[in-house]
């Protein structure tokens, strides 16, 4: 099996994550889409690490996980704060700022 299969899987997962951001309205789901994108990227990193015989890719993935954890904390805190104000987690409802 060619290792590029992993890469294609990563690209597909990344795309699905990105499409989630474009299509879903629940902020939590959108955020999960972004997490999926990060996970897909990690898969690409790990695969490239194996291809190059170099552990940097795995280190990158590790850092991404740590950063993602921090990001999740902040992101969910923001979403909860908005939910407490508006009782809604839909991204469409935050629509006061526009031209």
């Amino acid at each position: 099996m060619n290792l590029s299969n992993y890469l294609v899987l990563a690209a597909v997962l990344f795309t699905i994550g990105a499409t989630t951001v474009l299509l879903r309205r629940n902020a939590i789901v959108v955020f999960m889409g972004i997490e999926l994108m990060l996970n897909a990227t990690n898969l690409a990193f790990v695969t490239f690490a194996r291809i190059h015989g170099d552990l940097t890719g795995q280190v990158m993935a590790f850092f991404v996980m740590v950063v993602a954890a921090a990001e999740v904390v902040i992101g969910l805190a923001i979403i909860v704060a908005i939910f407490r104000t508006r009782r809604s987690a839909s991204v469409d409802d935050v629509n006061l700022l526009k031209s």
């Binding site: 951001v21 474009l22 299509l23 309205r25 959108v30 935050v94 006061l96 526009k98 031209s99």
Partner: protein, 663 residues
Amino acid sequence: MMTTALAALPLEAEGAVAAASASGAFSVAWLLIALPMLGAAVLLLAGRRSDAWGHWLGVLASGSAFVVGAVLWFAMMGLPADERVQDLHLFSWIPAGAFSLDAGLRVDPLSLAFVLLVTFVGTLIHVYSVAYMEHDTDRRRFFAYLNLFVAAMLLLVLADSYVLLFVGWEGVGLASYLLIGFWNHEMPNAVAAKKAFVANRVGDIGMIVAIGLMFATFGATDFSSVFGRAEGAGEGLLTATGLMLLLAATGKSAQFPLQSWLGDAMAGPTPVSALIHAATMVTAGVYLVVRSAPVYAGAPTALLVVAIVGAITLLFGAIVGCAKDDIKKTLAASTMSQIGYMMLAAGLGPIGYAFAIFHLLTHGFFKAGMFLGAGSVMHGMGDSVDMRRFGGLSRYMKVTWLTFAAGWLAIIGFPGLSGFWSKDKIIESAYAVADGEGWQPWVFGTVALVGAGITAFYMSRLFFMTFHGDKRWSDGHGEGPADGPVRHPHESPRLMTVPMAILAVGSVALGGILAFGDSFVTWLEPVTGHAEHHEPVLPIWLIMVLTFVLVIAGVFLAWRQYAAAPVAVVPPRGSVLTRAARKDLYQDDVNEALLMLPGQYLTRSLVYGDRQLVDGAATGLARVVAGSGEIVRRVQNGYVRSYASTMVAGIVALTAVVLAFQI
């Protein structure tokens, strides 16, 4: 037909002089700008403490600048003609990579002529203002602005690069708004200042684009480099640059189609009108065109447009001037018209440049004199500006009457006086343009000729309505019509009449002196180049006779109607033309339709989605505007998902393009 201007190119080469590094007296040229600037700074910073002596400091600053200018003039007289262009390097302003921008001054016959005009007339107006503004609590601030204006104007004419010129250009604009709006607690003044601001911004865009074009074409904006490289540049680029410079000039000099602000700007104090809106700032456009002669040398089409704009404005201003009853607005219209003359002369190319500047100088004197005279009349007549309520003032204000008469005779081109020498030369040159071939000499010449006649009419009208005929005011002792406002006309104090007298002397004599032996034209040759004399299409004597006849006719008509016959105190309804002229030939309405309305629609429709526009869009432009507003709204709709979509669309497009080129 276009060949004349091109044929003048070699003349440029042999006539214009390359710049030399300034030395000796010329190395202090920076004082010209520094002195009034210092005056302004001291007056603004010292605040109320300087109320007692501030105005005299202002006079001193302006006067000492004149002294410096005079010294430079003597120094330059002592130089041979081919060393009279002196560049003074001040400091390295923006040393950015291969292109550097230096701040420097260029002292040459052209700039020096302006320096003398600005500082001399400026100083007289300062003196006049000491008395005129005596009762204003903010007189000190007024003088600070006047000094600021003088400094900026001197920077404008002395700059050795277009960028520095632009600094002065903006500076005079700033000072002008400050002065027009000086009494800005009165609403019309603020509105006038706003109008001037907007018209000038439109002009500024022309200036910025012109500078950008020069920078892109020549890689520099200083006069030496631009003019040196202009010969090798393509005609298209030079034409574009020339037209953009013209746009700038029309804004600053109140030329068609950006003329509307000048009349309203008369709301400012009268000395301001004299200094800025007659003698100096409004002529900056003419200076710009003449200064850019080498650019126009390669752009005959742009030059032709300059002449056309000048011709239109000439007639426009003259016609408007015939119908105004406000003494200052009449003078403003006349200014517009006279600058039209200068613009026309500048548009004639090398044969006209010198005469444009010549007329500019004489005009600076007689128009400033008349504005100060108008101020004196207002001073005596309780600040009224309605000429229909003047009349018979010659008995009460002898000095004003005499000095005004000098200005009047000068502007209508009475033989022997200043205006005669300069205006007749322009008419002659207009008949001689384009080697006397084609339609140009006939059209431009005739416009200039007819303009002279109309000028004679409306200036005489003003003169007679103000100083002669019946009194249309009441002195409170039974003289004059009972229904008229009560006035106590009196002569103005010395501080006001002396400057007027000096300007009157200049109005009478300056033209003759400068015209003597073509001395002024020769003086300017290092800048404008030597122009071969061209034969006008009509014999010169015929032109002179025709001009004289038209002028006499104009004066006679005005005399019959406004001095010999009673003048109605309520303006008669008048003909269509009169009514149109009273309304400035509907220029405000046109401007509103052309400039303001689309702007308002743009704002309204884009922001609030103006229903009217979307539903009943009449013009294609409006539809385009509405459409782009719709796009803006749709993209910036506040939805995170839409924003993300824009991003992804960008990403996909970018990557796809790159990959497509890769395969």
